[in-house]
């Protein structure tokens, strides 16, 4: 009798999967790490791992479309003479002119204004289009200080001192030379065509005690009118928030690892920082321990997508959330209608993230004048406003179902978790139990 070995089905490694193999080949071929835009793509515990406990007997719901559920938020009540009043607890995160086209920046301003919220400048300064179209504009004070101008400080409605970003806590940025148009080069005071490195730390202060003095300087320059935000990357949220409060922040922004960036190393985006979900409770804890919860407002950003995410972040103790990547999608980023053009760039709609190359078919993350023209700032602004309003309606719907007449009345008790990990991070019970893993630890 003859025995034949049966064929073995080819088996690919879980460790060396197709993407990993392609990255090894790419590194070997090009000699440079992958730089891309956007936020973390790997799956980590997120808001989807939480569920709301709608009211039945032990809670009394409010009637949708009948009973009021407010969404207003005031930011900067600690020191500023002119706090920010917003209609909705969703703001538009800082994204730079340079990274984005002028039309995209204008569209963000238009959309935010229609929806009754603020937008934010970015690395590269304030453009007249942006100021002109933004009813409420937050001016970012960044480590690179590209385009930093006291006139613009005075024109802003609030100042955000950026210390870190969720996509790259501890890291600077890199705007590759091909994206440096004449206008971008002029605003950043650098030659056209060279890689523009953004510093990872502020040049004129070296720690929280210095930051405290820096904030006083900014307040003195702007006559104590404007709220001062401090933005930190979600890495050590308890201590960073506590130090930001100590330094005098009116508002603290905590940006989790799903937060986007214009361009940085893929390995940085995917492997540095903590998930947004894991950052909220330590940040709130810091404020509570200092007796400053709701006195210093907390904005959470990093992967906020819909009204459920908004409601969950607020329930965990945030005063507002901020959207960046999602706002770009609302404008038209990665739209399947442009699939054929994405394929020419060796990618597909939904995966395009080489924003630093300046060839964005949607005309959003580019300085190419022809591509930029594709984005109608009025229409795109309308799309963003619709999206922000829908998210607000969704959050209101959930808040009413939990019996609240203001979205800020959502609380951790309204939530349960689907996984042990999410329960531990959000400090809410695992569904069907009263167990909160690790409660009490920071």
């Amino acid at each position: 009798m003859t025995y034949h070995n049966p064929p073995t089905t080819p088996r690919k490694s879980a460790v060396f999967d197709d993407y990993t193999l392609s990255e090894i080949r790419r590194a070997a071929s090009t000699g440079i790490y992958d730089i891309r835009g956007g936020g973390a793509k790997r799956k980590v515990p997120h808001f989807d791992d939480l569920l709301f406990l709608g009211a039945s007997m032990s809670r009394y719901p409010l009637e949708g479309y009948r009973e009021k559920c407010s969404t207003t938020v005031t930011l900067g009540t600690r020191y500023a003479k002119k706090p920010i009043e917003l209609k909705i607890p969703i703001t538009v995160a800082g994204m730079s002119f340079g990274s984005l086209s002028a039309n995209a920046k204008e569209a963000l301003g238009r959309g935010a204004t229609i929806a009754g919220t603020s937008t934010t400048t970015g690395d590269g300064g304030m453009t007249p289009e942006e100021r002109g179209q933004s009813q409420t504009l937050v001016y970012q004070y960044l480590p690179s200080r590209y385009g930093m101008n006291p006139d613009d400080l005075r024109k802003a409605d609030a100042i955000e001192v950026v210390v870190g970003q969720g996509a790259k806590p501890g890291g600077g940025g890199m705007l590759l030379g091909q994206k440096i148009s004449d206008r971008v080069a002029e605003m950043r005071t650098l030659p056209k065509g060279i890689d523009q490195r953004s510093a990872c730390r502020h040049p004129d202060w070296t720690g929280p005690d210095d930051l405290e003095i820096k904030i006083i300087e900014l307040r003195e320059i702007t006559d104590w009118q404007k709220p001062i935000y401090v933005k930190v990357g979600g890495a050590r949220p308890y201590y960073d928030v506590a130090l930001a409060v100590k330094a005098g922040a009116d508002v603290v922004v905590v940006d989790g690892m799903q937060g986007g960036t214009a361009a940085t190393q893929e390995v940085f985006i995917e492997h540095v920082g903590q998930p947004t979900l894991a950052c909220i409770r330590p940040a709130v804890q810091a404020l509570q321990d200092l007796g400053m919860h709701r006195k210093v407002q907390l904005i959470i950003s990093g992967g906020i997508r819909n009204g459920a995410d908004v409601a969950k972040a607020l329930a965990l103790g945030a005063d507002a959330v901020s959207v960046g990547s999602a706002a770009l999608v609302a404008l038209g980023d990665n739209d399947p209608a442009l699939e054929s053009e994405y394929q020419k760039l060796n990618t597909t709609a939904g995966a395009y993230d080489d924003w630093h190359e300046g060839r964005d078919p949607a005309g959003i993350t580019t300085q190419d004048p022809e591509l930029s023209k594709r984005l109608d700032p009025v229409l795109a602004g309308r799309r963003l406003a619709n999206y922000l309003k829908v998210m607000t309606l969704e959050a209101q719907t959930i808040a009413r179902a939990c019996g609240h007449n203001h979205v800020h009345n959502l609380e951790p008790e309204d939530l349960c978790a689907l996984t042990i990990e999410a329960a531990a991070m959000a400090r809410v019970p695992l569904a069907g139990t009263s167990w909160i893993p690790g409660q009490g630890n920071l």
Binding site: G31, S144, P150, D204, T206, D210
Partner: protein
């Protein structure tokens, strides 16, 4: 001439008074007494004022100055004239770290020494230091000119872009991508012009050596990885 005594007037009142002065103000001569190391003195001034600060100041004196001539009759803490846009700031004594950081225009004259990071990330400002400067000065300096009569510390001009550095004394070490360059006639004229504007006569531009970017790190290349 308005005189503001910080022993009896708050910093807030001082800066508010200065901010109220417009381009056409008649109150152009200001004297500030008893600063006693206070931070953020005369910051955000946006008018052609002449301001004499009679004593030492803390952090960020004359920060983001536009148009004003500000003289500190004493030493200054970190961040003197940071992000200055225009005008002139003179510090008669020494300055601490980050003097002239990110400055986009104007002239900063330090008659004493400057500590580390002098001119860090400078973006168009001219800085003259009669004494020495500390380490990491002109780190990531983009444009503008730094003129140093004395010595420079370690890593001068690390990751420098298009700023020009002129040092008369010794340089302990140069940072990544910073090299010594030829002192041509145009640079002699430039230094001479800066010295004249600084009111520092009797110094020969030819005594200075010029440093700037080799521009090898302007676009990333893996073969330069050792420089990072």
């Amino acid at each position: 001439m308005p005189t503001v005594d910080l022993a009896t007037t708050s910093l807030r009142e001082l800066n508010e008074l200065l901010h109220k002065q417009g381009a056409g103000t008649n109150e152009t001569q200001w004297e500030i007494l008893n600063p006693k190391g206070r931070h953020a003195v005369a910051v955000g001034v946006d008018a052609p004022l002449n301001i004499d600060i009679k004593g030492p100041v803390g952090y960020y004196v004359a920060g983001m100055n536009k148009h004003a001539n500000i003289v500190v009759h004493g030493s200054a803490g970190p961040g003197a004239a940071e992000n200055m846009m225009s005008g002139k700031v003179v510090v008669k004594g020494d300055v601490s770290q980050y003097a002239g950081a990110t400055g986009r225009g104007g002239l900063l004259v330090v008659e004493g020494n400057a500590s580390s990071r002098c001119g860090i990330s400078m973006k168009g400002i001219d800085i003259v230091v009669k004494g020495n400067i500390g380490h990491m000065s002109a780190f990531m300096a983009q444009t503008g000119n730094l003129v140093v009569f004395g010595d420079a510390g370690d890593a001068l001009g690390d990751s420098i872009y298009e700023a020009r550095l002129f040092v008369r004394g010794s340089v302990k070490s140069l940072g990544a991508d910073c090299v010594e360059k030829e002192m041509r006639d145009e640079h002699l004229d430039l230094v001479d012009n800066i010295l004249q504007r600084s009111g520092l006569n009797g110094v020969k531009p030819k005594d200075f050596r010029r440093y700037g970017s080799s521009r090898k790190l302007y676009n990333f290349n893996i073969d330069n990885a050792d420089a990072y």
